[in-house]
Symmetry: C2
Subunit: 229 residues, 2 copies
């Protein structure tokens, strides 16, 4: 993906389409809009002070991201994500994160390794202090580093997609006080395995990390997360 992401950021920052896209995505992920709620182009446009054009283009992108469903001549509706979908995604991700960790072990740069270490130790600090917000942020960043380190734009793209997709349910569960520190412990293990160039171990740990994350989510939070919306 290379400099594509950079350009994308530029687009999103300066173009109306990008801003609308991100605004809507955040709103959907954060639960501002109900599931199956209808999104009207003009209404959104007026709300954001733009014409229909950028809104429409944002809609197309959201559709491909699976966040809304567009029915021709009818309207756009935010798509629900079922519990089974979440489960399936985590199972798929567990495999891919494992592969990602393996590849990262083989391809990680010194800079990325440094950043990963820093991330883990910083998270350890915030965990002790009980800063849940920062912990969630660092958790996201850890995975992003891992994705970039695997040196495969295909895999990176896939994993980022999935990551986005489950963000809405994930936000709630991670700020659960128990999981945060536990999750970071696992990050540390993955980081050390990568540092030791033990690809097999890194794969296994990253795989297990996802399964643990899912288990935790099911135990305390998934139902809740649904009922709250």
């Amino acid at each position: 993906m290379g400099n594509y992401d950079v350009k994308q950021e530029v687009t999103d920052k300066y173009s109306l389409r990008g801003r609308v896209f991100h605004k809507l995505r955040d709103d959907i992920l954060s639960g501002k809009y109900e599931e199956h709620e209808e999104l009207k182009e003009v209404a959104i446009g007026e709300e954001l002070g733009v014409s229909r054009t950028p809104v429409r283009e944002a809609f197309r992108q959201l559709e491909l991201e699976g966040l809304i469903q567009i029915i021709p001549n009818k309207g756009a509706y935010v798509t629900g994500i079922t519990e089974k979908d979440v489960k399936d995604i985590y199972m798929i991700r567990s495999l891919l994160e494992g592969l990602c960790a393996r590849w990262a072990t083989e391809h990680i740069t010194l800079e990325q390794m440094d950043e990963m270490e820093e991330n883990v130790y910083l998270a350890e600090f915030h965990a002790r202090k009980g800063h849940l917000e920062q912990l969630a942020e660092l958790d996201n960043r850890f995975h992003d580093i891992l994705y970039e380190a695997c040196d495969s734009k295909m895999l990176e793209h896939q994993l980022k997609d999935f990551h986005q997709y489950v963000l809405r349910v994930r936000k709630k569960t991670l700020s659960n006080a128990n999981r945060g520190p536990k999750s970071n412990e696992e990050h540390k293990g993955i980081m050390e395995a990568i540092k030791a160039k033990d690809a097999d171990l890194a794969e296994k740990l990253a795989h297990q990390h996802m399964i643990n994350a899912y288990s935790n989510m099911v135990e305390n939070g998934l139902h809740e997360a649904y009922e709250n919306r």
Copy 2:
């Protein structure tokens, strides 16, 4: 993602945007446009007899699918697919096809099982007769059946995407006289494992099947497929 796929078809059939999107997608995948070739909105629009609007919306979708790269205020360029991309996709697919086979073992319906058996035996017949064209067709169909049988919209969607993505290189290699029958042998193994409800074996075989397919492609054909374009 749910019934989103169905609706998507409806959109594509009746809306200009959908048609433009698919046309461009096919053209890019089939190699009509060179890598890094610039796609101009008006030019495409005139070629297809539509205005810029549907073209622009199609561009946004193509961008998210990773087929083109849009540089703000500059233009849209088709992104290349490198040999490494192909390799990565096959590695990813090998994992996901394994998972798919596992889930299919658990969820396949009687009808799907029947169709799969029929597919294998029919392919056996065509293999003996040397009908390479039908063999390729049946090969695609086999995987589609598998994807549907796994009973996971998420996984099905992913695998179909990847399948699409590598189609351009795949076509050539499969009609290679050696691989066709060999591939079908492996299908038969997967099918029997599923029928015997042996999920572990099915997963392993499907996984290996992808790796074999890739190995074969590398040995005789991948370079060629590239040089022909």
